[in-house]
């Protein structure tokens, strides 16, 4: 168990900065997820924490102690790799025993620890097998087993379940989360899958192009994204963005778009007022904050034409053309609209967001 502090850390490859001035604090015993698309610097960050890459500038501290110059073996971390990285010529038992053997533990104790870990991960009957005789999920468990036998201070997970099939992934999400709760160890978990980050982490660090965008709880990241990029990256299906202008008539502020004019709440009007309105506004609204109907409602609504319906079992996603733009609306499966029909969309005004068109910064 350890508190990890990443302070003003840079990673520069040649002349290309991969991580820029990163500051993250991960509390003792918490589950931090570093989320971002490929190339955002999240893996470099993790590899710097593990000691597999040099830290170009800045400091990483474990419980206040600077670890920049420690070799990986002296950092007391355990890492689970994206491709599992099991030793192909060793059995499952030997794979899991390896970290303890390297630390010169007694054979009896090694046996005890490996068996306990195997039992926890339900792989006790696989101990004599070789990695190539295992399925993807089993390999993943072995890789996690190898990490937990040692009871390290810190777990590093580098997209550990990215290669599993969807069903197994959902299962492993729960297991990893449960495991972390049981062991109480600090976890840093790198992923590009926002669902993994949302469902498992205590806090999420969203990264983009080497820069930390937002460090907050999953709820906060989802409900109060700090900018348009985070808002668009988190959530599935993704948030809809519509470029709008503002119009003030009779004390009412409205978003104006070629296909609609909708008034904002007074509170939102005040926030828009405070921001620099000349920059133009990007309206962001999640598919589940929109309501679609074939009948025109009394509320101000957007008028569009249905492009396509996608049935997703429990609910339905409707793609609607609003002039040249297209928005996605989440609705129930009994929605009766067909492709090409004219439809009306109303927005939940408590759940929509406005971003500055130029900086992408959140206005509300």
């Amino acid at each position: 168990m350890v508190t990890v502090s990443i302070e003003k850390v840079w990673k520069i490859y040649g002349r290309i900065p991969a991580v820029k001035d990163l500051n993250i604090e991960c509390a003792n015993g918490s589950f931090l997820s570093i989320l971002g698309p490929s190339g955002c610097g999240k893996s470099s960050t993790m590899r710097m924490i593990a000691g597999l890459e040099h830290i170009s500038a800045g400091e990483i501290r474990f419980d206040g102690r600077r670890i920049n110059d420690l070799a990986p073996k002296d950092r007391d971390v355990a890492m689970v790799f994206e491709n599992y990285a099991l030793y192909p010529h060793k059995s499952v038992y030997e794979n899991m025993a390896n970290p303890l053997k390297l630390r010169g533990q007694a054979e009896v104790r090694i046996r005890e620890r490996v068996l306990a870990a195997a039992k926890l991960l339900e792989i006790a009957e696989l101990l004599d097998r070789r990695p190539q005789e295992l399925s993807g999920g089993q390999k993943q468990r072995v890789a996690i087993g190898r990490a937990i036998v040692r009871e390290p201070k810190l777990f590093l997970f580098d997209e550990p379940i990215a290669h599993l099939d969807a069903k197994l992934r959902a299962h492993m999400r729960g297991e990893i989360r449960h495991l972390q709760r049981t062991l109480g160890t600090t976890v840093i978990y790198v992923t590009h899958d926002q669902l993994e980050a949302m469902s498992m982490a205590d806090r999420i660090a969203v990264m983009h192009e080497g820069v930390l965008q937002q460090l907050a709880t999953p709820r906060e990241v989802y409900n109060k994204p700090v900018n348009a990029w985070v808002a668009g990256f988190v959530g599935e299906p993704a948030m809809n963005f519509l470029d709008c202008t503002l119009e003030e008539t009779g004390g009412q502020v409205r978003f104006v778009h070629p296909t609609f004019r909708i008034a904002v709440t007074p509170e939102q009007a005040r926030l828009l007022e405070a921001s620099n309105r000349a920059q133009g506004i990007r309206l962001g609204v999640r598919p589940d904050a929109l309501t679609i109907s074939l009948a025109k409602s009394k509320e101000e609504s957007m008028t569009g034409r249905i492009f396509v319906n996608e049935l997703l079992g429990g609910d339905m996603i409707v793609d609607v053309d609003l002039g040249p733009e297209r928005v996605r609306v989440k609705t129930s499966t009994d929605f009766a609209g067909n492709e090409g029909d004219v439809c009306y969309i109303t927005a939940n005004r408590d759940k929509w967001h406005a971003f500055s068109k130029e900086t992408g910064r959140t206005i509300f």
């Binding site: 070799a71 890492m79 790799f81 990285a85 390896n98 390297l102 040692r150 590093l156």
Partner: protein, 292 residues
């Protein structure tokens, strides 16, 4: 991974080509295997019997070839009178020693070249292989001079060093290819688990086992079959099988019997080596532990 079906459909041309290849292969086998057969059988023949040759055109006379009383006297002669056990030991030590040194140094060099990026790496790699580009004869004179100054001429260490100079570049190049195929993650996992880099390097050696096997075979073959180095650098104190065999050809007397026996003695260990190591080379190690 299961091998795929090779889908081929018969056409007149491909059938003709099939026949042609069968005939070609048959001729090729005769061409390559017959001399070995003759050598092997002749080594068990008395000199008089070895030279019983039927007249030209008498194909039935081929049976004459197999009509002899086997004798081990040439082998006896080699090992009892001609000191061949010493030469064989020299050959083994020179070949084995050079192979061992080449594998040890080669794998470390190859690992570094595979894992570490630095300025001029490709130039360095090219330089390493370029040392093999000049024919052996071209470097022999300066090499001899250097070895003589160092008093290495005629010694086994000298011979081992000479072979290593030529084996090491090959070892590095072959092994680098194998190391390139080993995912970084395996040794990174080792290092996070508590290994030093050297321990991590040792831990992935089993994964390049087939490469090491190939290098061992190539190094031993090169040294074992070499004549030029052995004759010049090893002359005198470190006589190897090939040189000793050559010495059986004397101006007054070509000792055909012992030459044939020496040929068998020289060839057989390499054939055995090939058989032993082939299974290992082919089996290889599947990289089941890493998701491709």
């Amino acid at each position: 991974m299961a091998s795929r079906d090779i889908v081929q459909y018969q056409a007149p041309l491909s059938r003709a080509f099939g026949w042609f290849s069968a005939v070609f292969l048959a001729l090729y086998l005769v061409w390559t295997l017959l001399p070995i057969l003759v050598m092997f059988i002749s080594s068990f023949k008395d000199l008089l019997e070895a030279f019983k040759i039927p007249p030209v055109g008498d194909w039935a006379g081929v049976t004459l070839f197999f009509d002899f009383t086997p004798t081990f006297k040439h082998y006896e002669n080699l090992f009892v009178n001609l000191n061949f056990s010493q030469y064989m030991a020299n050959s083994l030590i020179a070949a084995g020693g050079s192979a061992a040194i080449s594998v040890i140094l080669g794998s470390m060099a190859a690992y570094s070249l595979s894992r570490i990026d630095f300025h001029g790496k490709s130039d360095l790699l090219f330089w390493i292989i370029s040392t093999r580009m000049a024919p052996v004869v071209a470097v022999m004179v300066p090499l001899y001079w250097i070895f003589r100054e160092l008093e290495l001429v005629g010694t086994l260490p000298g011979l081992i060093l000479a072979y290593t100079t030529f084996n090491l570049p090959f070892a590095i190049w072959i092994l680098k290819g194998f190391f390139d195929d080993v995912p970084y993650a395996i040794e990174e996992a080792q290092m996070v688990d508590g290994a030093t880099r050297f321990q991590a390097f040792l831990s992935i050696l089993p994964l390049v086992g087939p490469g090491i096997g190939a290098v061992v075979v190539l190094c031993i073959l090169f040294a074992w079959n070499d004549y030029l180095f052995a004759a010049i650098i090893g002359s005198g104190g470190a006589k190897t099988l090939s040189v000793a065999t050559r010495e059986l050809v004397q101006p007054q007397n070509i000792q055909w019997g012992p030459i044939m026996a020496a040929g068998v003695v020289t060839t057989l260990p390499m054939m055995l080596l090939g058989l032993v190591i082939r299974r290992y080379l082919v089996a290889g190690l599947t990289m089941g532990a890493v998701k491709e």
